[in-house]
Structure formats: structure tokens, C-alpha cells
């Protein structure tokens, strides 16, 4: 997973970078059983920031969609939805990202964080949280990654370049018919051995 930072707050932070507390952004990513991610980003702003955001992107969801597609070229995105709450000066932007998980040659499922040594907190067996800072735009992002219930052996490892990644297993369906092959084979061999004994040993 490439770092998903909704950088559209850049323009509204052109001032007071050093003086203001960081903007806080929450990103929740729920991975389904086939490795796609449902992503939801939410954020609240002050009055000034809200006005600038509305003018730049908030009132132009199509541009927001294109911007996101440009920022995340490694995935296919669809099912975009933007919900604004003018009263609270907050928004929720959600979309679906295909191909969030990769499966390596050994069949391990992998989610890349694209970061070195991020602060990762385990919330539950299948839920992890990462907090990281984007200093240039002074945005603090909290990412919550929710793995599918069928995910097993979730481990935090590093790739060849030292970047942290999640690795896990998912039961691979082989099809119900495949389950009959080995019992059938054993049954056949048992019958042949039995027949051999009856015909040649106890004849």
C-alpha cells in the first residue's frame, strides 16, 4: 500500500506551518477476503481551512477523484463517495482500491506500508494502527488497517529495502471436488490390497 496521504490540504496550510498544531486525518482501510481495500478518509478543519478546501477540491469531487487516482497509480480505484458536513466542517471520502494486497510466489499475502519503521500498534488480532506525520503539510495521519477475518498468521516484516510490510495467510479454496481425490485414492489402494490378500494369500 502506497502511503495514502490526502495532500489536498497543501494549499490551505501555506500559512502558519510552524505555529499551528498538525491537522489530523484518519484513514481506515478494510481489506476483504480477496485482497481489495475499502478505504475511508475523514478529517475536520477550522473555518478558514474549510473554506479553502471547499474552493479547491471540496466542491469539485471529480477533481478529488482524479487527484486520488493520480496519487495512487499502483491501484485501480472506484466507487468514490464524498460526504461533507458543513456544520462540523468535516468530510468523509471513501473509495474502493483493487489490488491492495499482493501475493508472493510462496502464496503469502502482503500489504506494503511503503515506510521504514512506522509506529505500529496492534489493536486486535486482525486490526493494526499506524500513526505517522507528514511534516511538509503538517498532517498527522492515523491509519487503521483491518484485515479480513480469514487472515491468519499476520506478521510484521521488512522487504528487501527495509520497508515494513504486513504478511499473512488466507485459506485458499481448492474447490469441493478436490477434497475427494485423496480419500478416493486411499480407498482404491485399500481395496486393491484387500483383493490381493484374498486372491493370493488366503486363496
Amino acid at each position: 500500500m502506497k502511503r495514502i496521504i490526502l495532500f489536498f490540504t497543501v494549499s490551505l496550510l501555506s500559512c502558519a506551518i510552524q505555529a499551528q498544531a498538525p491537522l489530523k486525518q484518519k484513514l481506515e482501510m478494510s481489506i476483504d477476503e480477496v485482497g481489495n481495500g475499502a478505504i475511508k478518509v475523514s478529517m475536520s478543519m477550522n473555518a478558514n481551512q474549510w473554506q479553502v478546501w471547499l474552493q479547491s477540491l471540496g466542491n469539485n469531487p471529480a477533481l478529488l477523484k482524479r487527484t486520488m487516482e493520480k496519487e495512487l497509480p499502483a491501484y485501480f480505484l472506484d466507487n468514490f463517495k464524498l460526504e461533507k458536513n458543513d456544520m462540523d466542517r468535516s468530510f468523509e471520502f471513501s473509495f474502493k482500491a483493487y489490488g491492495i494486497c499482493q501475493v508472493n510466489k510462496r502464496g503469502k499475502w502482503i500489504v506494503n506500508t511503503d515506510q521504514k519503521n512506522p509506529d505500529i500498534t496492534k489493536l486486535t488480532d486482525n486490526k493494526y494502527m499506524m500513526v505517522w506525520m507528514e511534516p511538509r503539510n503538517n498532517i498527522q495521519q492515523t491509519q487503521i488497517i483491518d484485515f479480513p477475518p480469514t487472515a491468519r498468521n499476520i506478521e510484521i516484516n521488512k522487504d528487501a529495502f527495509g520497508k515494513t510490510q504486513f504478511e499473512f495467510d488466507i485459506n485458499t479454496p481448492k474447490g469441493s471436488f478436490h477434497a475427494l481425490f485423496w480419500p478416493g485414492l486411499i480407498l482404491s489402494i485399500t481395496g486393491i490390497v484387500w483383493l490381493f490378500i484374498l486372491l493370493f494369500i488366503f486363496k
Binding site: Q18, A19, R66, F76, V103, K108, L180, G191, L198
Partner: protein, 536 residues
């Protein structure tokens, strides 16, 4: 016979059970759905950008394939490959260990073209072939797709690849502008040779070792202008043709490379800007190209200060006036002032190409080979670099402090001069009323903060400020000596280092603090000290 019936039944049942998976394998056939997003054109000049998944965040690729397993069978070792006949052999993009029913994989192709692609001087239509295969795939099951794209010539620059029905404004029409540094070739042996000759024959070594000095930088830029003027370089246009490519409508501009501008002794505004950027970069300066509606001009930046020159001032005998280096510099700086006003007003048509910053983002120039013929051409041109042709470069030194003299002054107690190009924000943080203004450098690394603090002493004012900072999660450290204050403010990722002055005003104290990110402080020392010394 009766006693044999039971094992025979067991054998038959076992064979049937073991054979069922094979009997039903036909209905369990693999089925993949593929959709491909491809780009309509490739610019050979930018071939290193297309090849690099990290360049400009990986947004420039040949195609992106979305492959979904729509069958009921789990596939193993799914391999996506592509080729561009005549350019790229079959190359694997991705291998997926297993692909369960319903799973989608995304394969993004960053094509690695042979560097010789930059010798391509005509455009052509090329075909890309894509295949998806997996372990045990029947020959008939393998997915094969292909699409065509236009391969431009090495000199062609397409301004956008955004589909015409998606174009929203000026920025979209010139969406490919960040690729312009691909034409900036400081490492071209011919450009290096030209730079050496300009330093030797025009500047007489005066600015031969350009360091972090604005005066030397401007001196060098004027020398370069003088070199182009003495060689009778003329301003001339090249072809720019609007083209329709699939859903994209774009202007394709023929951009002569810096070596071609030098040896051809002619250039369009963008070509002259690219030439200046190449030579300035080769000389150790930080080149900038300013893009404005219908025009471009070059310059550089040092210590957060921006400089510009109107490179087309050379004009040509047929075009009327030929400006002197001083006139071209003056005009460039005037245009820069207008540029800054326009960007402050939020006009998206005015943009900066920061060559080195884009280089760091993976926008790298093409490799060009040395060429004896072109070196001889440079030698011929350099014969014009004689004292009898050369005007005296009467560069009136404009150190940062003098530049500040032309700049506006922030009003009120503890007024100070605002450096050229810096942007002023009044009441930038409504939740932090003590901060009444903030003035930031164009690259937003350095800034001046102005605080009005209701307090009865300087110490009390600083203490109050520290409390405010603390409430916002920022740690403020400072020391006061008379009216001079210095310190740092930090959150857990960055530290901002500053110096300033504090003085009484009606209703409290005013603090003016100027500084920058701690890691970049040394680069901004000149301008920070200049602002600090101008505080009255």
C-alpha cells in the same frame, strides 16, 4: 466370489471419488477478466521517468492492467508480461503466487526503453503486447491483449495526457510541465564544453567557481546572456502542433535540445530557458524556469531568493532591438515581480519549474553522447567571444540586503523588509490570535512570524507565547538578551529555528521572529540575517 465383492466395491468407489475432480475440471475452468488503461503517447526524452516507479510518484507508466479471477478455480503463479516489438523484449511485470476466485491484481508497466530511443528523430506508432499466463494454463487459455501508442521524437514535448473531457483548467492543459527538466541536459558533453568556454572567454573566470553567492550567480547568468548575444543567437520559433490522440487533445511542441540551440544559434523562449537551466545547473547553480501564459524565461534561486533574466532579449537583427545583459536582467526581474504577484493572487497560469527539485523526484535528463562535429561548431561560435564584441557586464551588485531595499516593509513597531517573492498572510491561524501575520518564502521553508502579545514585560510575553505553543503540542525554547530573542519551536517531527526582536507596543509586546526548518537553516542564513538586520 461373494467374498471378493466388498473389496471390488471399495475399489470402484475409490476410483470414482478420485476421478471426480478430473471429470468436473471442465466446469472449473480458469476465467480471467482483464481491463487495460494505456497512455496515448510516449516521449523518448522522458524515457527515464517512464521506467522509474518512484519518479513523480509513479504516475507516468505505459499501461495499468486490472486482472480479476472471475472463474471458480484458484490459479497459481499468475505472470503478467509485455513487449514492445522493436524496443522492448518480453518482460515480466508481476508474478502472483496464487490468485483465488474473485481476487483482483493490478499490474503497472514501467517500460525500460533502451537509451538509444533518444536518438529517435521522427514519431511512429508502436504496439504493445500484453499476456497473462499461469501454471498449468492451456495454450488457449492464455490471455493476449495489445494496444497501440504513439512514440514521439526525442524533441517532442506533449503538454498534457489528460483526456479532453476531463480538462478542468490551465493546470490540466499543461499537466506534463513537470517533465520539462528531461530536456535540461547539464551533463551533455557539448553543454559542459560550452559552459567551460563561456566561463573562460566571456567571464574570464570571474564566476568560474560559482558558490552560494547571489552576486556570482547573477554575474554568471549575465555572462551567459552576453555569450548568446555575442554569438548572434536569434530568437526563432519551432513547430507546435495540436494533435488528437485517442481521447487526448494536446499541443505537441518541438523543443530543440540545449546542444542544438547552442550549435544552431537559435532558440524559442522555452528552448532558451532550457539552455540556461542546463548551463546554470552545470555551473553549480539551482536553475528555475518560470512559465507564464505564452512565454517562459529562465533564472535561478539562492537562499530562498529568486532571480530571472529575459533570455529572448537577444531578439535578432530582424526582430528589432537587442537588449544588453543589464536590460535583459532588469526586464527579467520586473517580470518576476509580476510573476510573484500573479501567483500570490492564485493565478494557476503562472508556475515554476524547479529543475533540481524535479530531478530529485526522478525527472532526469536523457544521456547524450559526445560529438566532435558539435564541439567544432561550439569552437566556431566561441570565436565571436572577443573583447571587441563584448559589452562590459556592468552588473550592479544586488545582494540580498539591497534587494530588500526594493521590497516592501512590514508596517508597525518592529517593522522589517519583506524579501522579494515572499508571501504575506494576515491572521493565518484564527485559532491562534497572537500570530497576526506570517510571511513565507516561495518554497515555504523560511518564514517571518509577527506576534502581538498582551503582556507587561518581554519575559511575560515569551512565557505566554510558550503556553500557547504548549497547548498546540509545540515545544518552544528561547533565550532573551535585551530586545534580541532566539530559539526553536518544535513538534515531534520538525524543529523550526529562529532569531528575532521583541519590543513594547501599545497594549503589550510585539515579537518578530525569522527562521527556517532547522535542517535547512544554513542555506537560509543570508536572507534570515538580512531580514533580522532590517528590523527597526
Amino acid at each position: 466370489m461373494k467374498k471378493l465383492s466388498l473389496p471390488l466395491v471399495i475399489i470402484v468407489v475409490g476410483i470414482i471419488a478420485a476421478g471426480i475432480p478430473f471429470l468436473f475440471s471442465g466446469s472449473n475452468k480458469a476465467s480471467l477478466d482483464i481491463s487495460i488503461n494505456s497512455i496515448p503517447l510516449i516521449m523518448p526524452a522522458a524515457h527515464k521517468v517512464y521506467a522509474n516507479p518512484d519518479a513523480l510518484n509513479g504516475q507516468y507508466h505505459l499501461f495499468k492492467a486490472k486482472i480479476t479471477n472471475t472463474g471458480k478455480k484458484t490459479l497459481e503463479n499468475v505472470v503478467v508480461k509485455y513487449q514492445v516489438p522493436g524496443h522492448i523484449e518480453w518482460t515480466e511485470i508481476s508474478t502472483t503466487g496464487i490468485m483465488i476466485p474473485g481476487q483482483t491484481i493490478v499490474a503497472v508497466c514501467y517500460p525500460v526503453f533502451n537509451p538509444s530511443v533518444t536518438s529517435k528523430t521522427t514519431e511512429s506508432v508502436e504496439r504493445a503486447n500484453v499476456t497473462v499466463e499461469w501454471e498449468g494454463a492451456d495454450h488457449r487459455d492464455i490471455i493476449e491483449e495489445s494496444f497501440t501508442f504513439k512514440m514521439l521524437s526525442r524533441n517532442d514535448f506533449a503538454y498534457t495526457c489528460i483526456p479532453s473531457d476531463e480538462i478542468l483548467g490551465w493546470g490540466d492543459v499543461y499537466d506534463n510541465d513537470p517533465l520539462l527538466p528531461c530536456f535540461v541536459t547539464p551533463n551533455d558533453p557539448i553543454v559542459k564544453y560550452y559552459t567551460q568556454i563561456v566561463q573562460e572567454k566571456v567571464l574570464k573566470g570571474e564566476a568560474a567557481s560559482v558558490t552560494r553567492s547571489p552576486e556570482q550567480g547573477v554575474q554568471f547568468m549575465l555572462g551567459l546572456y552576453e555569450a548568446t548575444r555575442m554569438s548572434h543567437m536569434v530568437y526563432s520559433g519551432t513547430k507546435g502542433i495540436p494533435q488528437n490522440l485517442q481521447d487526448v487533445q494536446t499541443l505537441i511542441q518541438h523543443v530543440r535540445l540545449p546542444r542544438e540551440v547552442i550549435t544552431g544559434n537559435t532558440g524559442l523562449c522555452i528552448e532558451l530557458s532550457v539552455l540556461y537551466a542546463s548551463v546554470l545547473s552545470n555551473a553549480g547553480l539551482d536553475p528555475i524556469i518560470y512559465l507564464i501564459p505564452g512565454h517562459a524565461y529562465p533564472g535561478f534561486k539562492i537562499d530562498g531568493q529568486y532571480y530571472a533574466i529575459e533570455a529572448t532579449g537577444i531578439g535578432g537583427e530582424g526582430l528589432g532591438k537587442i537588449s544588453s545583459a543589464q536590460e535583459a536582467y532588469k526586464l527579467g526581474m520586473e517580470q518576476l515581480d509580476e510573476f510573484i504577484k500573479a501567483t500570490q493572487a492564485g493565478d494557476p497560469r503562472y508556475s515554476i519549474i524547479d529543475v533540481h527539485q524535479l530531478n530529485a523526484s526522478g525527472v532526469i535528463s536523457m544521456n547524450l553522447d559526445d560529438n566532435d562535429y558539435l564541439r567544432k561548431k561550439v569552437d566556431e561560435i566561441a570565436e565571436n567571444f572577443t573583447p571587441k564584441h563584448q559589452q562590459v557586464i556592468q552588473y550592479v551588485q544586488q545582494p540580498v540586503s539591497n534587494q530588500l531595499a526594493d521590497a516592501s516593509r512590514f508596517p508597525g513597531p518592529l517593522s522589517f523588509l519583506i524579501p522579494t517573492g515572499w508571501v504575506t498572510y494576515h491572521n493565518p491561524a484564527p485559532g491562534f490570535p497572537l500570530l497576526i501575520a506570517q510571511i513565507t518564502s516561495p518554497d515555504m521553508v523560511a518564514s517571518v512570524s509577527v506576534y502581538n502579545i498582551p503582556a507587561s514585560s518581554a519575559e511575560e510575553a515569551m512565557h505566554q507565547l510558550k503556553q500557547y505553543f504548549s497547548q498546540m503540542g509545540l515545544a518552544l525554547q528561547y533565550s532573551i538578551s535585551g530586545s534580541n530573542v532566539q530559539g526553536t519551536s518544535a513538534n515531534y517531527t520538525t524543529t523550526f529555528r529562529w532569531i528575532g526582536k521583541i519590543a513594547p507596543m501599545s497594549g503589550g509586546y510585539r515579537l518578530v521572529a525569522v527562521g527556517s526548518d532547522n535542517q535547512l537553516y544554513s542555506q537560509y542564513t543570508g536572507v534570515i540575517n538580512s531580514v533580522y538586520n532590517s528590523i527597526r
